[in-house]
């Protein structure tokens, strides 16, 4: 019997070369779209989907559903019968969504998933996002801090507190006003927003533009960081292949 032994270092080198080639093909999209880039794109999508499916089968389906059923059939149960029945029942009902005729049977399971997810999302958003953000916005209008600054002779800090409060108030109200779409109809004229709301909304566009620019900057920084890391990787591969350092 012939045993095929491959040097691990050679395998690592081959892997590096393949990764470098795929990286170069991907970076070629920065100049122009090309069929090779699309082929690599399909390869990435396929590998990612296959890897995810393999993880789902190996870590979820087999150990949490298939193996307990086999253990139960073999007479060596590892799960409670009721627990196993619920798992099998819910899974079977969810699988009926694949059939157009029996899709209604899977609706209760889908409703359970959606309902639990919505309840968790709403509860978490209120407790973890809304209340802390409201508290943070109200904290800028703490009169006690302003009094302390004045009593201590820190007039510059006092002015700063007032300025920050005004900016925060304007930013919050004007941004909220931008998303207020209520309008009143006057006779046969087209519905128009209140003049005060409209003026606030115009100011809100400035703050929204600043927020979007901040997000764009973050995306740009992340993209640039990924590009630099890939170029650095190519540099390391070249150095490794040619013994440069």
């Amino acid at each position: 019997m012939i045993s095929l032994e491959i040097n691990p270092e050679l395998l690592a080198q081959i892997g590096l070369v393949i990764a470098a080639v795929l990286t170069l093909i991907t970076l070629s999209y920065a100049f122009r779209d090309n069929p090779i880039f699309r082929g690599v794109l399909y390869l990435f999508v396929g590998v990612a989907a296959g890897y995810t499916a393999a993880i789902a089968v190996q870590d979820v389906v087999l150990p949490q559903l298939a193996y307990p059923i086999l253990d139960q059939l073999a007479g060596t149960p590892t799960k409670d019968v009721l627990d196993l029945a619920v798992r099998v029942g819910l899974t079977t009902l969810l699988l009926t969504k694949l059939s157009a005729r029996a899709t209604r049977l899977g609706s209760p399971v889908t409703a359970l998933l959606v309902g639990v997810g919505a309840a968790l999302a709403i509860g978490g958003a209120i407790q973890g996002t809304l209340i802390p953000q409201v508290g943070a916005a109200a904290g800028f209008f703490d009169v006690g801090t302003f009094d302390l600054a004045l009593q201590g002779g820190y007039y510059g800090e006092g002015i700063q507190i007032i300025f920050e409060g005004i900016i925060l108030l304007l930013a919050t109200t004007s941004t909220l006003a931008y998303f207020h779409f209520g309008a009143q109809s006057r006779g046969k004229q087209e519905p128009q927003r209140n003049i005060f709301i409209d003026a606030l909304a115009r100011l809100g566009t400035v703050f929204i533009a600043i927020a979007l620019a901040t997000l764009f900057t973050g995306v740009l920084q992340a993209t640039l960081g990924a590009l630099i890391e890939r170029v650095s990787f190519l540099r390391d591969v070249v150095n490794s292949l040619f013994g440069l350092q």
């Binding site: 122009r32 890897y51 904290g139 740009l220 992340a222 960081g225």
Partner: protein
């Protein structure tokens, strides 16, 4: 039973009715409708009665001998009623009266009143002996005048039956249709334009089914419920306005465009634009590549005061006791692993130096693989990484709900490690861990803000020592408000290359992953800023040039037009 207007009604009759009519037509009809089975008068009347009749000249009459009292033929109603004119059934003396006027022979079938039918069937009055009335003697001229008046009186008595037109001189009147001369003198709008007669009164009422099929002017013999008319066909076309049609068309167009595959945009880009794209890409590559190849460290690192959230993370880790359990949730997309790798390496290096016991978990399938790669390659120089002195719980399936369950009771949560038959909680290192709050510190490594937000929202109240985030640069702006929340749900952030460099500086590291990339990052960012400024300036200049050209055309247009006209002339 239904048939069309052009169809012979007789053909649409049922077979049994056709057979019945045929049989009736073949039966010998006795004159005057006499029944052959009726007993002969000679046989029933006694001789003395017959003698009396012969003596006084009485006719041999009986109830059966009168034409209007003779028994009905049982099959007579199966024959279609032939429209007959009442004048034909009138006695002769009435015909004579009617014939005196110019319209004597006009049919009166349009007024079939019951009294008129009764007198039609009466015996001729001439055969009834009338007592003679005393008659006065009048002159001849007066008798002639009296005959005329008597005739007029008779005509007045029979006025309802006098026809308006002489038969044959005028077209036959159609029920419900005005004659042309009457239509001409009708005042406009005085009569309804629509025919308000009931359906059975219309001329097309022959469509009724049943035994009376084919007969006109009769009421339907069957109730409407059992009539088998062809159901009316209603139009399924919607009545929509123009506005609704336009909206529907726009919506349909949107749906069609959604289904169409997008074309190759690369082939549609004009050559100058492609050239500009190539130049921009080349400039960024050069700005990044040169510092990397030269491995320069020219760009100054940021000051610690610039990012206080980094200092907060450093301070929290730096005070951790030895062997402190630290939970790390690694919800990182592989695509942004390279960008976040420098920050993760810097923070985990610090944790390992503090000899913390690391426990990894991930809510994404790719998370466990990234953990292994990170510890085996990037942190191989650390004893914990080399010896495998860490715990990778693996993949926690179920998303937000599973994460909430894990925070509530981590020991009962099913992760991939326990699913494979291994129980990590039997290790002595986890003896003190019964809940998430027992961890000395909780970190979430995320490439986008949503994943980190789930950790914050679902577990902020469960972490007494707070939560720290290591994120991509694109997630930091969205997570920064949580740093200032009241209560504070996020204790610190290390994000991107910038965060990594600053964290390394806090740890007094002169060499690190962040520092290696910092020059390229700085020059690349500078090149991008320069390109944005140049692009904005170019766009503004182009716009100003177009505005100036448009202004020139506007001012010169009144002068050039007459010149053009003159040239044309």
């Amino acid at each position: 039973m239904t048939y069309h207007s052009g169809q012979d009604p007789e053909e649409s009759l049922p077979d049994w009715l056709k057979a019945l009519r045929k049989r009736q037509s073949q039966e010998p009809t006795s004159p005057e409708g006499e029944d052959s089975s009726a007993p002969e008068p000679d046989e029933e009347e006694p001789d003395w009665l017959r003698d009396i009749r012969q003596r006084y000249g009485f006719p041999e009459s009986g109830p059966e001998t009168d034409s209007h009292q003779k028994p009905e033929n049982a099959l007579s109603d199966t024959q279609p009623i032939i429209p007959s004119r009442a004048v034909e059934t009138r006695p002769n003396h009435e015909r004579e009266v009617f014939s005196q006027g110019p319209m004597a022979e006009e049919p009166i079938e349009d007024t079939p009143e019951q009294p008129s039918q009764e007198w039609i069937n009466e015996e001729p009055a001439a055969e009834v002996p009338q007592p003679e009335s005393p008659r006065r003697e009048f002159p001849d001229w007066l008798e002639e005048l009296g005959e005329v008046e008597g005739t007029a009186i008779k005509e007045d008595e029979l006025a309802p039956h006098i026809p308006a037109f002489t038969e044959g001189t005028e077209p036959e009147l159609i029920p419900g249709v005005l004659p042309s001369w009457l239509e001409a003198i009708r005042p406009g709008g005085a009569f309804p334009q629509e025919d308000t007669r009931s359906e059975e009164m219309l001329p097309s009422a022959e469509k009724i089914g049943g035994p009376l099929a084919g007969l006109s002017g009769v009421l339907p013999a069957e109730p409407d419920a059992i009539q088998s008319f062809k159901p009316p066909v209603y139009s399924a076309r919607l009545e929509v306005t123009d506005s609704q049609s336009q909206h529907a068309a726009a919506f349909k167009k949107m749906l069609e465009e959604e289904g169409k595959p997008k074309g190759d945009q690369g082939h549609q880009v004009a050559l100058p634009i492609r050239l500009i794209n190539t130049l921009i890409g080349t400039a960024i590559f050069v700005a990044v590549l040169v510092p990397l190849l030269s491995q320069s460290q020219l760009a100054p690192r940021p000051e610690p005061d610039l990012l206080p959230e980094n200092a907060a993370v450093f301070n929290r880790i730096d005070v951790l006791p030895s062997e402190a359990p630290v939970l790390i949730g690694l919800d990182l997309q592989p695509a942004l692993y390279g960008e976040t790798k420098a920050a993760i390496t810097a923070v985990i290096n610090h944790l390992l130096e503090r000899q913390a016991r690391l426990v990894f978990i991930s809510t994404q399938p790719t998370g466990p693989g990234i953990v292994e790669r990170l510890l085996q390659e990037e942190l191989a120089n650390q004893p914990a990484g080399a010896e495998g002195n860490y715990t990778n719980l693996g993949y926690l399936s179920g998303g937000m709900a599973a994460l909430r369950s894990f925070f509530s009771d981590p020991r009962s949560a099913t992760v991939s490690m326990s699913a494979l038959g291994l129980n990590p909680w039997t290790s002595p290192a986890f003896d003190s861990i019964d809940s998430v709050s027992d961890f000395a510190l909780v970190l979430v490594v995320s490439s986008n803000a949503d994943d980190a937000r789930i950790w914050i929202e679902q577990g902020a109240s469960e972490f007494p020592n707070g939560l720290i985030a290591i994120t991509s640069a694109q997630a930091a702006p969205l997570l920064r408000p949580y740093l200032q929340g009241v209560p504070q749900t996020l204790q610190g952030i290390v994000s991107g290359v910038q965060g990594a460099v600053l964290y390394e500086r806090l740890r007094s590291q002169e060499v690190g992953g962040g520092r290696d990339l910092w020059d390229a990052y700085s020059f690349g960012l500078g090149a991008i800023l320069l390109l944005i400024l140049l692009g904005g300036l170019s766009g503004r200049l182009t716009h100003m040039r177009l505005e100036r050209t448009a202004t020139k055309i506007t001012y010169t247009e009144p002068e050039t037009k007459p010149a053009g006209d003159q040239l044309g002339n």
